[in-house]
């Protein structure tokens, strides 16, 4: 009888842990800055010192570094509908991203260190243009609701 009770207690505890884990996973998912939508060739996402291959559906986060190889490209939609694509041999650093779907407040700060980047700005730039900033090794761009291309000259800053 007592054993049975312990068994149920354990099942209950494990069940709760599983639920708690599922909730925690959800919370992390909600913090994702965006999702990979197009991919060609080799694309690596560097996060907290580790690097992993990206696939369509991979989530990207604030402070991720996205690296494309030769003849490669990646397209990412951010949570505020900002559309990004990076061309071959590119290094894109998503320094900061936050977006509040209720207020449309937040921040987007990205640097293209090498290669090329095409941008179609999203809801953040529309509601809060000063919160959106793109940079290259030589420039900083302010965005007033629009689409543009950045091509970094030479090997950029990230050539190693």
């Amino acid at each position: 009888m007592r054993l049975q009770a312990i068994k149920y207690a354990l099942i209950l505890a494990c069940g709760c842990t599983a639920v708690a884990n599922a909730l925690a996973a959800d919370a992390v998912a909600a913090d994702a800055a965006g999702v990979v939508k197009t991919l060609k060739g080799t694309v690596q996402v560097e996060r907290a010192g580790a690097s992993s291959g990206a696939a369509i559906g991979s989530e990207v986060y604030g402070s991720d570094r996205i690296v494309t190889g030769p003849e490669s490209s990646v397209g990412i939609t951010l949570r505020d509908d900002t559309q990004l694509s990076a061309g071959a041999n590119s290094i894109l650093e998503l320094n900061k991203f936050a977006f509040n779907t209720t207020t449309h407040g937040g921040v987007l700060d990205a640097t293209i260190k090498r290669g090329s980047l095409a941008v179609i700005s999203g809801k953040l730039a529309k509601a809060n243009p000063d919160a959106v900033r793109f940079s290259t090794p030589t420039t900083t761009l302010g965005v007033r609701g629009t689409a543009f291309i950045i091509e970094v000259g030479g090997n950029g800053e990230g050539a190693r």
Binding site: A30, V35, V36, K37, T38, K40, I56, G57, S73, V74, G75, I76, T77, R79, D81, Q83, L84, S85, A86, G87, A88, T101, T102, T103, H104, S116, L117, A118, I120, S121, T136, P137, T138, T139, T140, L141, G142, V143, R144, G145, T146, A147, F148, I149, I150, E151, V152, G153, G154
Partner: protein, 205 residues
């Protein structure tokens, strides 16, 4: 002796200037080119370098920014940009699409009759969408306080989310949020009821 040094000094200076010039030419500049947005509108970007600032506000206009910060204006054509950046532009994600669901009267639960047809269209689009994520955002008209309207908008979003799940869309692809009275479809004075503003907008990202 003095004129000799002066002469050589000038020669060195000239050589030095030439060298700097060559270095500047050796490193291609960063290029920024403005495009029309997908709806055809042209916005603006403001480019800041170490030494200057330039606003670009015409389609296919741009700037070259040299390593030292010098900004030079450029003008391209649509065809040259589309050729040069063909691969980059082809890699752009699909443009997020929106679908709007309206509500009967003041309800947070009764969807307008055309909703089923709207969801059918949405599902057809979803079928070919890469890694789809649905953002379901509830809106209200301008009657009521912001706090009340935020709650009502959230109820509407959840009603639509439940409807989408019932129609076979996986729950994990759906995120709900409420915008309350902040983004009316039809602009009215505060406090005015308007059925067009009582809606839920679903964005496929």
């Amino acid at each position: 002796m003095k004129p000799f040094i002066q002469y050589h000094g000038q020669a060195f200076a000239a050589a030095f200037v030439t060298l700097i010039f060559l270095c500047a030419c050796g490193t291609p500049p960063d290029k920024i080119i403005l495009l029309p947005d997908p709806e055809g509108k042209v916005g603006a970007v403001i480019v800041h370098s170490a030494t200057g600032e330039q606003t670009i506000n015409k389609a296919y206009a741009g700037v070259d920014v040299a390593k030292g910060g010098a900004i030079e204006k450029t003008m391209d054509s649509q065809s040259s940009v589309e050729t040069r950046y063909a691969e980059l532009l082809a890699a752009r994600p699909p443009r997020p699409r929106t679908f709007t669901i309206f509500f009967l009267f003041d309800s947070a639960t009764d969807l307008a009759p055309e909703s089923l047809a709207t969801v059918k269209q949405l599902k057809a689009v979803l079928a070919t969408w890469p890694a789809p994520q649905l953002v379901v955002v509830g809106h209200t008209d301008l009657a009521g306080s912001q706090e009340w309207d935020d709650k009502l908008a959230m109820q509407r979003a959840q009603t639509v989310a439940a409807f989408l799940i019932k129609q076979g869309i996986p729950a994990r692809q759906i995120e709900t949020a409420a915008r309350g009275k902040r983004e009316p479809l039809v602009h009215t004075a505060d406090g005015v009821p308007n059925h067009m503003n009582r809606r839920v907008v679903i964005t496929i990202q």
